[in-house]
């Protein structure tokens, strides 16, 4: 009798103590900031008396790791998910807990940038809380502008100015290039094409995401100009092999003067070459008919199998609270908060680089938040590659890609 009571007590204690440990998985660039995480999490543990275990993952392995865990029903209590279509994809599989109720009653909800909500919505229900964000801009090397006789404080604003500047800088014999075109079979290529597509006044998919919308004169113009930068004008290194992360490293070595970048590039380019501090900047990416940008970032999601959903929401709300974000920004200077009040009240508001970002952000579009997005994205990558490889003309390639995208989306 005594023994069985003892064992029951032990089991109850074990279950309780186990249940009080929250697990959070952090992926992407902020995963590198482990010390900041420790201090932020310590604040939560003291406030609520809940133990939290933080697990950090590099970007390369995070997606596979998270998908495998969610598929097996063994995910964490709270996880980071990329705003590039992960949330609706996971929601469609039934892996996530809806957050609609909590978000309706939370003080921070009206402070989140409104163009972020579609990225975490699936069939009208919100499944995630956007935590940090960014938008794509023109990253450029001031030294190379000066050497080519260009004004480093007046970066190109239109496509034709972009081309003129890039041609002036390019010196192919010495492997110095004006602009870096992403043409690898990765997400970067889709993002690069989207920047030019929206800048030409085009759209990737229709507003209800039911079929392709890029097979238009605007879409064709964007595809032609994007690939011609590499092919006819030859102002880019061999596009098939490189993407914006490679170009950022080349920019640090004064090899490529302009490419797509964003707030996340600052620490990385300075890590690649510490001497470049103050010698690079960002600007609105050159456009044709309208300013354009593509947003990215990460949201917090609660897996459906988590036994601690209420505590997980407490942690999500705590991490996204005004105070925690202010502390984060004061200490780290980035990334870009999803809260508008932090953007306007913190020290970021006085930094010229961040002013460009806040001015551009309202133009930024999200990638289609649909489960089929990875397949759609692959079709765009193949479209760009086929044109770069001269396998198809831009007209043929865009037609084939639109047909395939419609097939993927089940449109007639």
């Amino acid at each position: 009798m005594k023994k069985s009571v003892l064992s029951i007590v032990l089991i109850v204690i074990a279950v309780l103590s186990f249940g009080k440990t929250l697990t959070i998985w952090v992926g992407g660039q902020v995963a590198e900031l482990d010390e900041t995480w420790n201090s932020v999490i310590k604040g939560f543990e003291q406030k609520y008396g809940i133990k939290v275990e933080v697990q950090l993952f590099g970007f390369d392995t995070y997606y596979d790791k998270l998908v495998t865990a969610l598929q097996a029903g063994k995910g964490p209590d709270l996880a980071f998910a990329d705003l590039g279509g992960w949330v609706p994809t996971f929601a469609e599989k039934g892996w996530l807990e809806p957050m609609e109720e909590q978000l309706k009653n939370w003080e921070g909800t009206p402070q989140i940038w409104p163009n972020l909500w579609p990225t975490v919505t699936y069939k009208g229900v919100r499944y995630g809380l956007p935590w940090y964000t960014d938008c794509r801009l023109l990253l450029y090397n001031k030294t190379m502008f000066e050497q080519a006789g260009l004004d480093p404080n007046d970066p190109p604003k239109t496509w034709s100015e972009l081309l003129t500047a890039a041609q002036k800088i390019t010196d192919a014999k010495n492997r110095v290039y004006g602009y870096g075109v992403s043409g690898t079979k990765t997400e970067h290529t889709t993002l690069g094409y989207m920047m030019f597509l929206y800048a030409a006044g085009g759209k990737l998919l229709t507003d209800d995401y039911s079929r392709a919308a890029f097979n238009t004169p605007e879409g064709l113009k964007a595809l032609k100009f994007y690939t011609d930068l590499a092919k006819s004008y030859a102002v880019s290194p061999n596009a098939i092999q490189y993407h914006e992360d490679d170009y950022r490293n080349m920019m640090a070595q004064n090899r490529v003067a302009m490419s797509i970048g964003g707030p996340w590039s600052f620490p990385l380019i300075e890590a690649a070459n510490p001497k470049i501090v103050g010698k690079y900047s960002v600007a609105l990416h050159p456009y044709d008919s309208q300013p354009a940008s593509v947003l990215g970032g990460w949201a917090l999601v609660i897996p459906r199998t988590s036994p601690n959903k209420e505590d997980a929401w407490k942690l999500a709300a705590y991490l996204t609270s005004f105070d925690v974000w202010m502390k984060w920004v004061e200490e780290k200077g980035g990334p870009m908060p999803t809260r508008m009040d932090v953007c306007t009240k913190s020290k970021l508001a006085n930094d010229p680089k961040w002013q460009v970002i806040f001015k551009t952000f309202p133009y930024a579009v999200a990638r289609p938040p649909i489960p089929q997005y990875p397949q759609v994205s692959e079709q765009i990558q193949i479209m760009v590659q086929r044109v770069l490889l001269n396998e198809l003309t831009p007209e043929e390639a865009i037609k084939v890609a639109a047909e395939n995208v419609n097939k993927i989306l089940g449109a007639k």
């Binding site: 596979d64 690898t184 079979k185 098939i240 489960p371 990875p374 590659q385």
Partner: protein, 275 residues
């Protein structure tokens, strides 16, 4: 005493195989269906990956076997510093991590900083740097070269072990009969090595079909579908597109293919032993 092994096999092999087969015949709602298999055979990318896998396997395996044989013959001649040469030449590429090897070759092939281009241009073989990974055909050649480097050591090691078991008397007898070096190689070494050759061929073929990290790191299956093999496609289907059922179906097709190859080889070997 057999029970633990049987259990381990059931848990780790039979159970997984069966769950994979079940998955391949169900759709996302859990209903029984053949649509996964039908969609594979309707998929043009599937036929492209079959062709790519054939080229990849043929190129890699013939290169690995030939180079492995040459290296084994040469190493067999060395009497001084055997251990040093064997470990450097045979173990080094084999012991390099797959991902490390992939990243290393990717950098060597790089057309802006790559050491390979630098050497070739300085030797005067090429006038300008060539973009190795920029067209589908060149990329396939480039990954095959890297894979030959990565894998020749294993066949080399098998061959070296095989050569050392050949009795010296056979060579002496051949020499008395007036056979020159090539004759001795062709009439003594090769027939004596045949069992080792067949086994090595079977293992390298199967390994190469299933080998994934090098291509994944170097080209990711691109440009276009230039280096997409069946395994990289399965990976893309399941981890990028989350189409688990279709990926399971394709894995079963691949399993059948590998099984057939292994069956044919083992049958051939069994017959040779019987004869």
């Amino acid at each position: 005493m057999v029970m633990p092994y049987v259990l381990v096999i059931i848990v780790f092999v039979v159970f997984l195989l069966i769950s994979n087969i079940v998955m391949s015949f169900t759709n996302s709602k859990g209903e029984l269906t053949l649509e996964n298999y039908i969609s594979i055979f309707k998929d043009n990318v599937f036929y492209k990956t079959i062709l790519n896998t054939s080229i990849w396997v043929f190129g890699s395996v013939s290169g690995q076997i030939l180079l492995g044989l040459c290296v084994a013959l040469l190493l067999n001649q060395i009497t001084r510093g055997q251990i040093f040469f064997r470990s450097v030449i045979l173990i080094l590429p084999w012991a390099t991590l797959d991902i490390v090897a992939g990243v290393m070759w990717k950098w060597m092939y790089n057309d802006m900083y790559g050491v390979l281009n630098d050497i070739l241009v300085k030797m005067g073989l090429f006038k300008d740097y060539i973009p190795w990974l920029a067209t589908p055909k060149m990329a396939m050649l480039a990954v095959i070269i890297a894979n030959i480097w990565k894998g020749f050591c294993l066949s080399g090691m098998f061959f070296l072990a095989g050569i050392q078991t050949i009795p010296q008397e056979l060579y002496e007898a051949a020499e008395i009969d007036g056979a020159n070096a090539f004759g001795r190689f062709w009439n003594v070494t090769i027939p004596q090595l045949k069992p080792v050759l067949t086994t090595t061929l079977m293992l390298t073929v199967i390994w190469t079909i299933n080998y994934f990290p090098l291509i994944y790191v170097m080209t990711g299956g691109g440009p276009n579908y230039g280096t997409e093999t069946i395994v990289t496609y399965i990976y893309r289907l399941s981890f990028r597109f989350l189409e688990y059922n279709k990926a399971a179906a394709l894995s079963n097709v691949l399993f059948l293919l590998v099984f057939t190859i292994a069956y044919l080889f083992t049958r051939k070997m069994a017959r040779e032993v019987a004869a």
